[in-house]
Symmetry: C2
């Protein structure tokens, strides 16, 4: 088992990564809680809920199961959870456990951040994607008009990451998670980038996966320790997300996975970086790796103007100008203001190139 | 004009108290904001909105007016404000101004705490009651099952308290505000207590009022600086609120004013203090002062069991036991666990005594 310590403004917490941790949940809690509310989703509940409940058998424990998928990050589910917390009798010194992927972690974490003005919560991620969202204390729900628009910074009391639970992930979920690992690799260094790109996602070993998850968590932990409230370098973690979030909001949460849209966003960020900085980045290598691992690199049927308008309401927009994370080289991200005229033109051209790349099997960009 | 500095965990902010400050709002903002959303209610808008807007004339400003009264502290109004903020194009470096009483401050403040995970807000209180709620960063909305159950700690960027706006308060609102001043006096010392009790609320001078508001703000500021996140002495500010909040939740927000119910709660806390500690507190003097100033000291038509059940879901409850703030003497509050049997019996007996006090003109307690 691996432990990473993360220093937040309010406290330091541990991120435990290892096998079968769910059977020993109580041992990894930072203290004893008089009552616990487990929040999970239908799918995860089927596989892992009983194990977690059993590992807490001495406690006053309730469970609330939400629907699977991004649509659960809604104001309605948020309120439903607050009601459950009150009715169950949760108190200020109680705990919420978020057992599931990023959606469960985000919504349960935001309930913990706001129930009685904030109580403890523990993240128990069950997806690859959630290795990223479970660390750093960003919690939120979606507004119909924008992803993660309503939220808080509320650091977890612990992250208990049982990698054994990743065995039940679908191929699509593995792809979704690896998009965030690829993002962290691009922000980190060539070694991590090469390690991620060396994977065939259909033949991942549990050992290799654990190793890469720990690398990803280390990248994330270092950034959030340096800038917990995102005034500076934490913004870099948004690489690929300016386009990714806009697409996700327009398509309606849940029709594509988060990671699939981030993958398109990463390609776009690299493409724009090459245009603006005149540098050579591994666009083609990444395109081919994504393609060969089954990422759906097609352009969703949305016109560029609609996407552009949505990008402008992104949380990173400053004084009406879109701020995008770009790369000067691997491990060297920069924030870049992009004016409206250029952004629209980039979107249109990229969309066309992606279309013809698909038709020509990815060769078009090399011309 | 008086300025009190308040040190919060994240920043220090100023509380300005003076006349006609609303005409110079821009001068009291801690920095320049690219865009501002003013949140106010129908009643306050009629009197003061134009003045504030005019004082911000160079800025990109929008207004959202909510209904007057406690019912606006709902999840629906919260979401409506988030929508308005997105549609207006509010960004991370934008400002929300809460122009109004405690309700406006609480709901607008909670929107500021959670919009894009937190942006600046400035409190512009227009009631006496809000001298208390505008300082200290507690923001919240109500759940149908409990007052202020969903909220955050989010310190304001400034408090701009134009006491001239208090001229339009009704007698009921003056009473409501003075209940919190009385509470602060009881937590503070005999001098402040005597000063509050020397008032005839129907003949308040603006000078005396300002002086007492500044005293109240000083008491509040000292407590929240010492314990911003309410792990210890900030709990004392709940004096009178254990019963007050329970009654407010049961009666439905808005049918009585907050302060009227806190006044009953203060009497109850003093009555219980005398029972438990065997001390002599000025129960009768306070009862008579409240009575002569028109506080409706009747028991709402709710039975004690219902109130008791609601008190148990109070935020201060620990391991199922009600924690109540009591007084050993003026200026000496203590937290006291009260077991269920005693609490129920206190509620029943106090209810009967209050009833007969009313019939006998307040003499019953002196026997």
């Amino acid at each position: 088992m691996n432990v990473t310590h993360v220093r937040a403004a309010t406290h330091t917490y541990n991120v435990y990564v290892g096998e079968n941790l769910r059977h020993w949940t109580a041992d990894y809690l930072p203290k004893t809680y008089p009552s616990i509310l487990i929040v999970t989703d239908e799918k995860v509940a089927r596989y892992y809920l009983e194990d977690v409940k059993r590992s807490l058998s001495q406690k006053h424990v309730a469970v609330h199961t939400i629907q699977s998928g991004e649509s659960a990050k809604s104001i309605d589910v948020f309120y439903e959870l607050q009601t459950k917390a009150i009715e169950f009798g949760l108190e200020r010194n109680s705990l919420i456990i978020a057992l599931g992927g990023g959606v469960v972690g985000d919504v349960a974490g935001f309930v913990a951040a706001t129930f009685m003005r904030g109580i403890d919560y523990v993240q128990m991620p069950t997806t690859i994607l959630a290795h990223d969202s479970s660390v750093g204390g960003k919690v939120a729900i979606n507004h119909e008009q924008g992803k993660n628009m309503i939220g808080s910074f509320h650091a977890p009391a612990a992250v208990i990451y049982d990698v054994t639970t990743l065995a039940t992930l679908t191929e699509q979920e593995i792809r979704s998670g690896y998009a965030e690992l690829l993002k962290e690799a691009l922000l980190s260094d060539s070694a991590m980038y090469e390690a991620v790109m060396a994977n065939d996602l259909s033949a991942l070993t549990s050992e290799k996966l654990s190793h890469q998850l720990i690398s990803g968590i280390d990248v994330k932990a270092a950034i959030v320790e340096a800038d917990e409230y995102e005034t500076d370098q934490r913004k870099f973690l948004n690489l690929g997300h300016t386009l990714g979030h806009a697409l996700e909001t327009i398509l309606g949460y849940g029709s594509w996975t988060h990671g699939e849209l981030v993958a398109i966003g990463l390609l776009f960020a690299i493409w724009v970086s090459e245009k603006i900085y005149g540098v050579k980045l591994p666009y083609n290598a990444i395109y081919r790796w994504l393609k060969s691992n089954g990422y759906p690199l097609k352009w969703p049927s949305i016109n560029s103007e609609t996407i552009f308008t949505k990008m402008k309401s992104d949380k990173k927009t400053v004084s009406g100008t879109i701020q995008m994370v770009l790369l000067q080289k691997i491990g060297h991200p920069v924030m870049c203001e992009i004016d409206d005229r250029h952004m629209l033109s980039y979107l249109r051209t990229f969309q066309n190139e992606l279309l013809s790349s698909n038709e020509q099997g990815g060769k078009q960009h090399e011309k």
